[in-house]
């Protein structure tokens, strides 16, 4: 069964929200924190509702609503959301007030908004959508789980479309904590030079991307979602290569049938070495582009890559500044995303015209 990406919307540290603007011109940042460029929410969400929403909820809901609008669809057959950390700033706020006020005289607002299903729930509430609604919170596989759920729902043929996406926010506290775990570069870098730094660590990011997947084609489809595979904690590059080979075989194609590869390079010297070796082992003749310098690294960043791939196929154009791409002549019919988060959560997503 074929699955069509009918529409998309993406709020990220780049000018990605209005998809007519694709290919976007890359925004350069200095420093290791890439925050989303947020649209004017009043144009997208009911003003009374906007005031009550926290930042991550606004980002997620706005991306979801814009995605539906791009498809000309009022309400989807199902809503499936992925988020690794959920509503961090509400969680931090409620935790902070428990400590500061010693468990007394607390306000419920941040607690109410802290639950991980808040974004999916608010989308349903605004659309008055009573259909299937699920939220996956599986770290670096949260978006992949949501995508698999959406694919299964379409194969079950009880609905013809599914709104699916992911959202994660970066807060001052989460940056402080994850820095102590050594995730980010110690020196300040420019995102446009991220892959030239040859040092440990990456840069932090955030974003919300949503897609309307459908079981029937429509004239304005971006692309087709051919397949997805995930694998956890591979031992070495050879094991990653074996997974890629098996994935391509399962789709009856070779590496040479792929027009563009989008990698999960994030500027960390060890992480990126995998992709350099995969270029020698499998993608010898392929062109590789990268995306994490544009949106920063976070557990659900792969949804940015899916948005990028779908829109490259939609427009036939690759945004400048996405990496090693040299020729502009070849057709862009089939894109493979080879992503990973923290070298633990690896995923392969195949998107075609």
């Amino acid at each position: 069964m074929k699955i069509y990406i009918r529409s998309s919307a993406n709020i990220s540290p780049q000018q990605t929200f209005k998809h007519q603007a694709f290919p976007f011109k890359a925004v350069a940042y200095t420093g290791n924190i890439l925050k989303a460029i947020e649209p004017d929410y009043k144009d997208i969400i009911d003003v009374k509702m906007v005031r009550r929403m926290s930042r991550i909820v606004k980002m997620g809901v706005a991306a979801a609503l814009e995605c539906l609008k791009n498809a000309g669809e009022e309400s989807p057959g199902a809503i499936v959301t992925g988020t690794a950390y959920g509503c961090l700033s509400d969680t931090e706020q409620f935790l902070g007030s428990i400590i500061a006020l010693d468990e007394e005289m607390l306000s419920p607002t941040s607690f109410i908004q802290s639950t991980h299903n808040t974004v999916g729930a608010q989308i349903a509430l605004l659309l008055q959508c009573n259909n299937y609604n699920n939220t996956f919170v599986n770290g670096g596989f949260s978006f992949e789980s949501a995508l698999l759920d959406a694919i299964m729902l379409l194969r079950e043929q009880e609905v013809t479309n599914v709104l699916t996406g992911s959202v994660d926010e970066l807060t001052g506290l989460s940056y402080a904590i994850l820095s102590r775990f050594g995730l980010y570069k110690r020196q300040q870098v420019s995102n446009m030079d991220l892959f030239a730094t040859a040092s440990k660590g990456t840069i932090a990011g955030e974003g919300a991307a949503f897609f309307l997947l459908a079981s029937q084609p429509s004239p304005d489809d971006h692309a087709q979602l051919e397949g997805i595979a995930t694998f956890y904690k591979p031992g070495d590059t050879t094991e990653i290569a074996n997974h890629i080979t098996a994935f391509l075989a399962a789709h009856s194609i070779n590496a040479t049938d792929i027009d563009l590869v989008i990698t999960g390079k994030n500027g960390d010297i060890q992480n990126d070495a995998h992709y350099d070796r995969l270029k020698e082992m499998i993608f010898i003749k392929n062109e590789l582009i990268h995306y994490k310098h544009l949106c920063g690294d976070y557990p659900t960043a792969v949804s940015f890559a899916v948005w990028l791939a779908a829109n490259i196929i939609r427009t036939g154009q690759v945004p400048e500044g996405t990496g090693d791409r040299v020729s502009k002549a070849n057709k862009l019919q089939r894109i493979l995303i080879c992503n990973n988060y923290q070298n633990l959560h690896h995923s392969l997503i195949l998107i075609s015209a």
């Binding site: 809503i79 690794a84 950390y85 959920g86 969680t91 931090e92 409620f94 935790l95 902070g96 428990i98 400590i99 500061a100 010693d102 468990e103 007394e104 607390l106 306000s107 419920p108 607690f111 109410i112 908004q113 802290s114 639950t115 991980h116 299903n117 808040t118 999916g120 729930a121 608010q122 349903a124 509430l125 659309l127 008055q128 959508c129 009573n130 259909n131 299937y132 609604n133 699920n134 939220t135 996956f136 919170v137 599986n138 770290g139 596989f141 949260s142 789980s145 759920d149 299964m152 194969r155 079950e156 506290l173 402080a176 904590i177 102590r180 775990f181 956890y232």
Partner: protein, 405 residues
């Protein structure tokens, strides 16, 4: 890949549970039969609300849970609880050639390792270079799932779901669908949540906690009691079920996930989402409402939930109401674990014909033409059990467990 078939059966082959009424399935069953609630004064959680708010805690400290689970005592209590119940479930299923099968773990929780994050934050908020990193490493919901998957050696598919109080019902539904799609042979599905200051204070600010023992579906109900625990069922394909030496429990014959789309924390007065979930599960199973013999209610004991759920039941089942009860009158509301724990109780109900009492029920709700069961009974003619899990964000899910005839 095998093509999805709606009619591919999925069976429950094992169960595991830890809750305030017992550390395993037989202990919980004993308490249910002898009407021993697990609710009481707070004795493990460190909080200002001790002696003020009754809760249903698992009666073991983290050291004791560590010994029982084989995991270190310093990790999140949620992971310890999850491990104990998940292992009981897979041991109980006694699948001989498990390593040759594609086995998944679908686990749910609502606040991950919040019990540890709250400790970390005390020092961290005062100074961002302080706070032990080993206390924040369990923060994300996926962390408990990962620890349990690693310990049980599960690699084929692992994921985590969080949809508030319906979390583990959705984990079970998702697990069953993975089997129907031919992606997995065996799935351990359910959820866990430990008592935390975060949730206790959160529910307290919403003013929906009863300061006495909760009275679900009673006219004079005042709110819910929070609980903690974990519950898992082992779902298997027909092929695996046929290879088992032990008796399978029942068939998971139907499920449905709907959204109330009414309010972030409150249910719609007519229980629209609850109605759609129950009705959808019955349709999904190919049954009619008259086939349901027992409903394990969501039944939190709040004014809002019980009225919404009751109104939806009235609409769906009128005029012939199945027997029903809320086992939250024993276990408290275990949030992300509740769908898993109640799936275990529902599986036992379908297998042995058990009906559980709804403790402390006195007065019929004036809006409803039915009352819950007040006595334990066994060897009842239970063919199909409906288990409800409804929650924040309007997430409503219902599961149906059917006796194997």
């Amino acid at each position: 890949m095998q093509i999805y078939n709606k009619h591919t059966p999925v069976f429950v082959a094992g169960t595991g549970v830890i809750s305030a009424i017992g550390n395993n399935v037989p202990a919980c069953l004993y308490a249910l039969e002898h009407e021993q609630a697990g609710i009481g004064e707070i004795s493990y959680l460190s909080t200002l609300h001790r002696q003020q708010i009754p809760v249903a805690e698992v009666k073991l400290n983290n050291k004791e849970l560590s010994l029982l689970s084989g995991l270190p005592a310093g990790i999140s209590r949620t992971a310890l609880l999850s491990m104990i119940a998940a292992r009981e479930a897979i041991d109980n299923a006694a699948i001989e050639n498990l390593s040759a099968l594609r086995t998944g773990l679908i686990s749910a929780n609502t606040v991950g390792g919040m019990d540890k994050s709250e400790q970390f934050f005390i020092d961290f908020l005062a100074d961002h270079t302080k706070g032990k990193l080993r206390d924040i490493v369990y923060h994300e919901c996926a962390s408990a799932t990962k620890l349990v998957a690693d310990q049980l050696g599960i690699r084929s598919y692992v994921t985590t779901i969080s949809t508030a109080c319906s979390s583990s019902a959705n984990a079970i539904m998702y697990g069953a669908r993975l089997i129907k799609h031919g992606m997995l042979d065996v799935v351990i599905a359910g959820g866990a949540d430990a008592m935390t200051k975060f949730t206790l204070n959160g529910f307290n600010t919403l003013m929906i906690l009863d300061n006495e023992y909760c009275k679900p579906f009673d006219e004079d109900r005042k709110g819910l009691n929070l609980g903690e625990g974990a519950g898992y069922v082992v779902l298997v394909s027909e092929k695996v079920a046929g290879s088992l030496k032990s008796d399978i429990y029942c068939k998971l014959s139907g499920y449905c996930n709907k959204n109330d789309a009414y309010h972030q924390t409150a249910s719609s007065p007519d229980g629209k989402g609850s109605y759609l979930a129950m009705n959808g599960a019955i349709e999904n199973s190919g049954l009619t409402p008259s086939d349901i013999d027992y409903i394990n209610l969501h039944g939190t004991g709040t004014q809002n939930n019980d009225l919404a759920e009751g109104t939806a039941i009235k609409r769906l089942f009128e005029p012939r109401y199945p027997k029903m009860s809320s086992t939250k009158s024993f276990t408290g509301h275990t949030l992300g674990a509740s769908g898993g724990i109640e799936a275990v109780f529902s599986s036992l109900s379908a297998k042995y014909g058990l009906i559980y009492p709804n403790l402390r029920f006195k007065t019929q709700m004036k809006e409803l033409p039915f009352i819950p069961e007040t006595a334990f009974s066994k060897n009842e003619p239970v063919r199909h059990v409906l288990s409800n899990s409804f929650g924040f964000g309007g997430n409503c899910s219902s599961l149906i467990f059917s006796k194997i005839s």
